[in-house]
Symmetry: C2
Subunit: 271 residues, 2 copies
């Protein structure tokens, strides 16, 4: 496996540059060490960044990828004096987009304030909602939920709910399916009236067994037999209730969230 370092150099928080880190995932056979250098807003700090770049080149035996958002042209040109593969978001994206929109882009610290609008407040409210409605904690306010995730314990409901709230401002509750539900063979009564916004998660028995074993090694709860039994019963239960579900075994929360949103917005399309 090839080893490279990816630097994210920004005069602000580095949030924009950091978001571009997703691009590196298109190259799974390179192992990237990711280094964030936020608040790089003086020539002195640019010098430190350059030293780090030179050092990483020696360590890795290959030049680093430098993803940069520096509003100041002098700082920008100064950083580019060293040998690296530069992805300059101002030159490549932001300045050309400014021409298209006929607007001068904001830079640095100005950005943070611009994101504090209504969609930001919605995201913060969604996070609070999701934390208060994790793991069936309360039935109060479920009518406010936009999505209710159900599934067996430890199948990935919590991280997926949190991601939906944090990233998309979606009020996502989650509700575990437990032995009591399996015996009765139906969804918890409180969920019946919310059936249109329920989405199921399932998982492979071997994976669930491994995950549960980390928590309660050797328990009946974690045993492969019990995992198999719970999953089969939960899937029957979801099938009977007409709930769409997705398998979380080899999907990231990002992917699960995209699937859930797609389904919630186009309820006719089944994944």
């Amino acid at each position: 496996m090839i080893k490279r370092t990816a630097f994210f150099v920004s005069d602000g928080t580095g949030i924009t540059a950091g978001a571009l880190g997703k691009l590196l995932e298109h190259f799974p056979s390179t192992h990237f060490t990711q280094v964030r250098l936020p608040f790089t807003n003086t020539l002195e700090k640019i010098k430190l960044a350059q030293e780090a770049i030179v050092h990483a080149t020696e360590e890795d035996g290959g030049r680093p990828v430098v993803i940069m958002t520096l509003g100041d042209i002098a700082l920008r040109n100064s950083l580019k004096q060293c040998n690296a593969y530069f992805i300059d978001l101002f030159n490549t994206f932001i300045d050309p987009l400014g021409l298209e929109l006929d607007q001068k882009p904001l830079t640095g610290a100005g950005i943070a304030h611009s994101v504090m609008g209504s969609s930001y407040n919605e995201r913060m409210e969604a996070i609070n909602f999701t934390l208060n409605h994790d793991d069936g904690m309360t039935n109060n306010g479920l009518e406010e939920a936009e999505v209710i995730l159900v599934g067996v314990s430890r199948c990935g409901k919590t991280p997926t709910s949190v991601y939906l709230a944090m990233q998309f401002g979606v009020k996502a509750a989650n509700y575990p399916l437990i032995p009591e539900d399996f015996e009765r063979g139906t969804l918890p009564a409180v969920l019946h009236k919310h059936i249109g916004k329920i989405f199921g998660l399932t998982i492979k028995a071997e994976r669930l067994h491994a995950v549960r074993n980390e928590r309660r090694a050797g328990s009946f709860y974690a045993s492969l037999d019990n995992c198999r039994q719970e999953i089969a019963t939960a899937e029957t239960l979801m099938r009977n209730a007409g709930i769409t579900w997705a398998d979380s075994t080899s999907r990231s929360v990002e992917e699960l969230s995209a699937i859930i949103l797609e389904k919630m917005r186009h309820p006719a399309i089944s994944k």
Copy 2:
């Protein structure tokens, strides 16, 4: 304010394209309606995307910005037949980066699997940790925490902790400062041994008053006087304990997280 639509068109989940949405925040005087079109992997779906682009152009009175990650060249070229400002991540970034790395980039559904490595598992574990250590819920396992946020109730500790966990895999606990602590004039005893990883949040009294009023309108808890008093006492308490803090009033969780990480990695630098 100018009105434009931003489309994120992807043959996969649209996560990479969506991350680029951050670039739009550099243009706060344009109002962007953001439309996500994930799983656009057939010519039929490309056609639907084009219809949406044409429709948005008419609605907005200006052509949309289309951020696209389509691995298939035929689909890519087909989409570009309509009039829009295209940001083609494959042409601009991914393919050139592939040349630099001498690797063929993964596309579409392949990506999700590549992110499921150890850093992914760390993020999921951090989310569980953070949710279990929200709002001083338990003192068990605080030695595992990498960061402990403190501050008055409703100053932004929870969303910031969740962001640190979700985005960076940082195990972030949070602990409220409450009237009992103010009377005693010191941090809760359980926190004394963790002083090196505590970071404080504070907030302007007017903002706290507004936030608390949404929850408990007209209460003593939400009154401007009580908010002023709590904040002043909390700041004195943090100052005496030698804790660095940041003001959350006009900072996003993204910005607060960047400041906290910077401080935690360079404890000598105070922000």
